[in-house]
Symmetry: C2
Amino acid sequence: MQINGATRVLGIVGHPIQQVRAPAIWTGLFRRNGINAICIPFHVMPADLDRFIEGASALRNLAGVIVTVPHKAMALKHVQAPTERARLVQAVNMIRWREDGTATGDIVDGIGFVRGLEAKDKPVAGKSALVVGSGGAGTAIAFALAEAGAAEIAVSDIDPQRAERLASRLREIGTTARVSPAVAHSFDLAVNASPTGMRAEDPLPINLENVSAATIVADAIMHPPVTLLLEQATQRGCFIQPGATMMDYQLAEMAKFFGFDGDYSPKAIEAVAGPDNH
Amino acid sequence: MQINGATRVLGIVGHPIQQVRAPAIWTGLFRRNGINAICIPFHVMPADLDRFIEGASALRNLAGVIVTVPHKAMALKHVQAPTERARLVQAVNMIRWREDGTATGDIVDGIGFVRGLEAKDKPVAGKSALVVGSGGAGTAIAFALAEAGAAEIAVSDIDPQRAERLASRLREIGTTARVSPAVAHSFDLAVNASPTGMRAEDPLPINLENVSAATIVADAIMHPPVTLLLEQATQRGCFIQPGATMMDYQLAEMAKFFGFDGDYSPKAIEAVAGPDNH
């Protein structure tokens, strides 16, 4: 890689930032695709986000910014032209500035989730889905499931009022949605979008009793790569989708949004990051 | 080089930006010195500089910003604690933010000029110097010559009032200074800090008639690497210093300012950039 004065910049803004994979993966993909661009970390505290975004809009060689935790919801107010999807989810995970200086933004967390399943010949259309956790990730996944034509979405949260708010927003766009306990039995698809499962001592976020092998079980958690939930679902013969898959299938959508040509498929990601380091 | 979430960022802000050498050279030096940092171009128009600098101050992993044309004078007002030197020159070519959020800034264009001569055993102390051009580069060089103990500084400019303003500011700090025509004869050191000589059809910026081989002739111009002025001075047996030398000898000062350990000497620069590509 040769960085020079003509290099375009893709930023990723978050706090903390040291753990993000984006700089290594995107920079590797740009090199592989022969594009003079790099992805760099922008470490910004929540109180400084407004000031940072205003400043970023002044950069003529900035392709855009990937927005990660904890800034996704707060960043929305700086986006003059969010996609319909970002408006529904009330958050963005990427922003770019247009010729006229205004920003557009989108959120593709949930799209990555759906694309990952589709790639394994598991389309979401017509399926009943349980989404556990109605925070940022759960909201993005739920709206993506709705967009992809899920027949029914059940929302579970340790805070039932928050679950009901999401269910109600899903009903507003014509989706059959309700609050449910975190029990996978009888659903075609069960997703953990809560943080439960990140720590070794965590209980199962979803009750898997009487789940049949026909139920797809997914987790949005990235670390560990295979959670206890996914392990137990595998033992029951279920098809599983880990968090990294959801992440990997976003990249092609992001490249399109930022205007980068080339191959940003999971296969390309594996080529630059290795099978276990993505 | 492996960019990751822990990578620190050194920016260079300018307009235009595609021609700057800093991203390639600094990034190469960081790699050579085993430092997880990169230097990236920030392309910012003059009207957007304020907004950019405010935003940059929000970045916790930004080591600082190198400031280049046309922003050096404008950037000063964002620096709460400029060095004495930056206050005198009324410009900065680098900014960094401190723990308390305030900015400090310095300008080392002129220091690089003086250090380059000292490295060739040509100390400036006690010498009479002619500085042609009293813009940003000329001002920085003149104050660095004064700081290094030059006996006398003569300033020349196509705008004599501008030359007189610089001479007067030099006298204010106790330096013997006056306005002079651009004639090198009788000076120990003659420097071109005007843009004359960048284009092939330009006349000589300094009259070299009757110049002895004892006079040192220098040019601040980077392209071409050896200007017509330097060619003709060489023919007269004079010691010459090209613009790239002034640039190269700044880097160690900059690394110190930004807090980077390692070797940033002209030898290290040549190792990463090649002898002709710096």
